[in-house]
Symmetry: C2
Subunit: 804 residues, 2 copies
């Protein structure tokens, strides 16, 4: 920043530390070692009491170990910037999966702090524009070896000196001898580094690093120092998206004394000239494929701040984004802390200690994506790689739709309907309108398509929003986009699907999964079209909604892949999980249950409720001792053949209720929650997948779950909260109260809604948004009468009546 | 194009050919063989009589052999597009220099037709977006080996079947069995391909090829087929400029039946997914580093046209440029033919047969650059790689300033003053204002800086324009830009130059050349500042203008490089030419004469006129038999140590006149013209350098030359025309008449201006722009009295009087 920040003087005296000690107990505390270094700043000691209760219960470290792939760094709600530590970007291909969010809780060093991270993705990318402070006279421009301290700019650190709350992250860098703090606004990140008194302050800014940084990923980059001290630059990478441009603009709180822009690329046939004369490293510009910068500030008497904005559009956009959020570190942090308090306040949670932390953190994780992807001036980069302008909405991206259509997006329809209609749906439709393929996003980030996973699940997201009465978008354009996406023959065997009623496995891999997911998506088109009075479209897609039957093998009782000649592919092993197999990241056990819009029809094919319950039990209790899934990514969190770490299983525990045995759902939910979620870094049993794993817990914790988005119903499971309040955007409150919550009372005894007994096993969307009180009475033994009547079961038991 | 072009039916009957034969005599004729193939179109047979006399005299093949580096293809005056054949883009590094303009007249095959070419550059780049037609059932997507016919999409051709006139190029492709025609508008090129009746028509569009196509040059590219049939795309290359983005938009005259977008890149660690599903080649989009496209049209009953626009801004810019110039091949050709007639009409030339062709072609070559570089909507990419908008002018680039400040730009001040002020100067200043370095362009194309050659020669271009009364730009901003460029310490040893009064060779290579060129540029700043009343600036740079003396060694009589300690570097060999030597593409023989603003001062240091004449003779008559310059590029056209193929010598023949012996200048000019220019493909003895070699001939042919741009004077040499008329933009005519022009009369007998004897050896700029008649009388023997008086000699003999 041009204007220096307010003084944030080092303290460093032990007696003062002693006085503060009690207040610090609630934080990930700063160690005596950090104080001995003189590194602790006043801001770092600010206790979290200023934040409301809900933020204080969030632990951003949950999911940063194991397979969670979340990041602990600073992010504003749905922010474009995720400023977070990367513990290692020098991974080999296999390790990179574990570093998908840059940070692994068990790594011993931090390489630096970069601006972009996915929250729980199953693929490694981003990690743009990594910064690392350095002290003293010599500065290495290479990260060095994590096993050899001092071999590069990376630094050892200790979790004891680390703190993370929503919008703020801090750590003491032991080798760099610097206290590092991060905060983030919507499109800016602010670094604050406190150096030891007397140490010369430097920053290393590495444009080469990336999450999953294979050879050739970097297409081009540039960095430029402007006369006013602003630093801008860009990089283009070929990564998860075929290509991606990202721009930054950065200002420092202290005047720059010197700098070096170094091109480390070797073995280039021809580089031409770079810069006037002989291109010294202190020139104002450098372009190349392997750039690293050093900024030198000399000795400072206050912490050094570096405020950075990004843009997918251009450098002017990044400068505009920087200017759009004025203020220093503390100002940005204050704003973001308030924003988190506001957003997290949508669901007040009162639950036993570990559950409150798990649920609050889960809620936090649901509020990170889809991220803002458009600039403050409305411009954004679309799937055509061209720049467009969003009129009247903020363009959003990071659409992990195969995951998030299930529970993450339905949660948004309750607590963020404005974002769903004004921003997410409009962003999806705007993307379709400029897509080179004319279809809705599949897995898109920063406006760029990755073609990851299957289905056209932007469709249920839009339909669910429309059917819930969210109408802040052009419904005709949206329906047009949905139909185009569902009829684009080259996409994932859709041509064959339209011709045959199923995707043939000898023409298209993962055919069984595609067939059933397409059929569900089709049903949501039919539902929305019917609501819009578009009978032709409703009829066309209503018919297609039944296509799941064409891939179901009544003989084995499993969903199976059929060949073009109509036969099921053999050999058939319902436990096999392989890439390019009949299923997508799963097998027949998980996928055979995927008919959210017609479970009744499915159960009939499965020979009735009794057989269904037996099959569900068989799934949960499967003996995996002879099975090895170590070759398959994202297969984690196994309970028999129920795999909670990946999405196809997410609705399955609720199916007992459809079969008339809700107490079995209640049992399974406790089993899943107890085994798959923990209030620790290893607390997520699989990738959080941009909030889906967390949204499952939020809904399940409240006592209900959207098994079939588009149905306007939520299936009642069982609550894990003492009390929770949905503070709805319409000003109403929907309160969940649980009487008798304890491990000893795993079963629902009875339910009331607004004081009246609720005998059915599901809630209607309008009942929630109307506000009111849902009251559970828990007991030690199953209530085998509650919500078991056929008429009391979730909607899908009566699909025929409800259309589709 | 969406609308098909008018019918252009194949003729193919021999009797009709016989009737047309006479009319075709003036063309590079089409052979009987071509007709037998059925390839000759009506348009191709249109004789050039429609074009005015001046265009008809232009032979675009001049300079396409030897070291000329010109291209024969289609270009509009100063056009952004240069649509021209590339005979080989698969050169090795050494060969690439010879293919700097894509086409070598002695190559046996054409690889394809690409959209961008430099006219006579000393460096290979461009050659963007190469197209090649293909006939029949199988189409190769690789160029193949020129030595193995049929091994790829390239084709043999014969000069007998080739035609080139301004704005139009045609050739019969023997292997492809296609007649190919090219035309170009300002920002569009139009291909027209006539296939044999019954042959399936295809186009290969290769995004991989480039002039000097070393490994890694291609950073990224993309191609996309839009629903309306428009094809767009981009590529980013690291070439002469550190990076360069170019976009295209293309439409065809016939409906597309099929297409393939193929990614030929191998050995990539990770490519991600490209396009929906499994990414077949017929999807509407492809991105990658090695793309080639095939377009299939089936059998056509009329020629196929492909109209392509380019843009440095974005694909929308390219589409806008395509739309801004409506019309089919014939319409674009008609417009460009008229534009050439208009622009070439600025100088009417009546000269003996080969000279008329040489001069008309030279004039044509001066009207190609600086090219339009901004889009039809005013947007352009600047040296900061960002997009800007030109308000009230068209942004131009391709500034080969070290070459063109000498004669090309001064010629423009006479025949194109609007372009000089409104476009060239404004483009230069606009570039400076967004330059990361804050300085004027050095060697810039498509808005991107290459840092090639030395000096800040945008400065004399602007000063010369200002001093000549061209004022359509902000003079204060221009002077500011000039001063900043002349005081930017990191550029080419300028910091040392400002400190010491010369560039020290132990701190900066090519120090001697830099010192004298800086001193001249400084003098032009002083001149312009004085004219603006900016005495401080005039004084500062007037002083610097004398710095050339600090590098002149009176003892040896040569310009030499000094070291920081003040001594001249040894050993000293005035004939040595090496990279990184004391001089830039030259040696002491050529560079010692470079004091255009103070030849009188130089001559005094050289011990007077007599010694000067002896030294000039020694230079021209130097025995090179023991010297080998084959290691040095751009050293061609040697007459002793006078090297006409490169720019430092260009003014030297005129210096005899400064020394009081104008008849010796007259002799040398005839010697140079006779030996260095021919009306053949090998007709340029060195790179045309974006018009400088040609501008030398235009001026010299007219009888005068701008030895010192900024002086407002032209030194009289001797004319090579019978008669010429400068049709000045102010509506006046300045006529040159030569009585007694013949090889037998190499000397000027006398000169009159507007009927009155002109005894001085120079013309004033205002005398030309006032219009009038300059009449030469030629004779067989020298007139040793004309223009020999000291007061009659060119201005620089009296520098002291004129300031600077």
């Amino acid at each position: 920043m041009a204007a220096p920040g307010p003084p944030s003087a080092c303290i460093g005296r032990v007696q003062r530390f002693e006085r503060l000690k009690t207040r610090m107990a609630r934080l990930h505390t700063l160690s005596l070692a950090a104080l001995a270094l003189g590194l602790v700043t006043a801001a770092a000691l600010t206790p979290a009491t200023a934040a409301p209760d809900q933020s204080a219960a969030v632990d951003p470290f949950i999911g940063t170990g194991g397979e969670g792939h979340t990041f602990p760094g600073a992010v504003a709600p749905f922010g474009m910037v995720q400023l977070s530590p990367d513990t290692d970007t020098t991974c080999t291909i296999r390790d990179c999966y574990g570093h998908a969010a840059g940070y692994r809780h068990d790594d011993p060093t931090i390489q630096g702090f970069s601006l972009t991270h996915f929250s729980g993705a199953g693929h490694s990318d981003l990690g743009d524009f990594l910064m690392m402070p350095a002290s003293g006279d010599t500065v290495s421009l290479e990260p060095g070896d994590a096993k050899v301290p001092g071999s590069g700019y990376r630094s050892r650190f200790s979790h004891a000196n680390e703190q993370a709350v929503p919008g703020y992250y801090a750590v003491t860098l032991d080798d760099a001898k610097v206290r590092a703090e991060m905060t983030a606004g919507t499109r800016v990140g602010v670094h604050r580094y406190t150096f030891r008194p007397g140490d010369a302050a430097h920053l290393v800014f590495d444009l080469r690093t990336s999450l999953y940084n294979y050879p050739g990923k970097m297409l081009w980059s540039s960095i430029r120092l402007h006369p006013d001290g602003t630093v801008t630059g860009t990089r283009e990478t070929r990564g998860w998206a075929p290509d991606r441009k990202l721009f930054f603009a950065m200002r420092f709180s202290a005047p720059l004394k010197d700098h070096a822009f170094v091109d480390t690329e070797k073995d280039v046939t021809y580089k031409g000239f770079q810069g006037p004369g002989r291109g010294s490293d202190d020139l104002p510009e450098r372009l190349g494929r392997a750039l690293v910068a050093r900024f030198d500030f000399g000795r400072l008497d206050r912490p050094l701040e570096a405020k950075v904005a990004i843009s997918s559009v251009d450098e002017a956009g990044a400068i505009g984004n920087l200017d759009a959020e004025p203020g220093d570190f503390d100002a940005i942090r204050t704003g973001t802390t308030a924003a988190w308090a506001r957003e997290l306040g949508a669901v007040e949670i009162d639950a036993p200690a570990p559950m409150k932390r798990m649920l609050s953190t889960a809620l936090y994780h649901t509020l990170i994506a889809p991220s803002v992807a458009g600039d403050a001036d409305g411009r954004y980069r679309g799937p055509d790689n061209a720049v467009h302008k969003a009129e009247g909405f903020t363009f959003r991206s990071t659409f992990s739709l195969w995951d998030t259509f299930r529970a993450e997006q339905p949660l948004m329809t309750l607590i963020q309907p404005d974002r769903v209609n004004n921003e997410i749906v409009r962003s999806l439709v705007a993307s379709q309108q400029v897509s080179p393929y004319g279809i809705l996003p599949v897995w898109q980030f920063q406006g760029r398509e990755t073609w990851t996973m299957i289905g056209y699940h932007a469709v249920p997201v839009i339909a669910d929003a429309y059917l819930k009465g969210i109408r802040g978008f052009d419904a005709d354009a949206a329906l047009d986009a949905m139909v185009k996406s569902a009829t684009y023959a080259p996409y994932g065997g859709l041509g064959e699907y339209m011709k045959r009623g199923y995707v043939p496995i000898d023409r298209e891999p993962e055919a069984a999964s595609k067939t059933v997911e397409y059929a569900y998506d089709d049903w949501t088109i039919a539902r929305m079209a019917a609501a819009m009075g578009r009978k032709d479209v409703a009829a066309q897609f209503g018919k297609r909604a039944g296509n799941w039957r064409n891939s179901f093998d009544v003989k084995t009782g499993f969903l199976r892949a059929r060949k073009a000649d109509g036969s099921f592919r053999t050999p058939f092993d319902p436990t096999a999980i392989n890439y390019g197999s009949d299923y997508t990241e799963g097998n027949a056990w998980q996928y055979s249950w995927f008919v959210p819009h017609d479970q009744a029809g499915l159960f009939r094919l499965m020979k009735g409720d009794k057989a269904v319950v037996a099959k569900l039990d068989q799934m949960f209790e499967y003996d995996n001792s002879k099975i090895d899934y170590s070759h398959a990514e994202d297969i984690a969190g196994l309970i028999g053949q129920y795999i909670h770490g990946n999405e196809p299983s997410h609705h399955v525990a609720y199916l007992y209720s459809y079969a008339g045995q809700p107490w079995r759902t209640q049992e399974r939910l406790k089993q899943i929650v107890d085994s798959q979620y923990k209030a620790t870094p290893e607390g997520l049993s699989g990738n959080d997948d941009l909030g889906q794993m967390s949204a499952w817990l939020v809904f399940t914790g409240l006592g209900f779950y959207p098994v079939a988005p588009g149905s306007l119903e939520y299936v009642i499971g069982r609550p894990f909260v003492n009390r929770a309040v949905l503070n709805l955007p319409n000003g109403r409150r929907f309160t969940i109260v649980t009487d008798g919550l304890s491990d000893a009372n795993p079963y629902i005894g009875g339910v009331t809604l607004n004081g009246k007994p609720l005998d059915r096993g599901y809630l209607r969307h309008q009942e929630i948004v109307a506000g009111g009180e849902l009251r559970f009475r828990m007991q030690a033994t199953p209530n085998r009468n509650w919500a078991t009547a056929r008429s009391a079961r979730p909607f899908s038991t009566s699909t025929a009546r409800k259309g589709g």
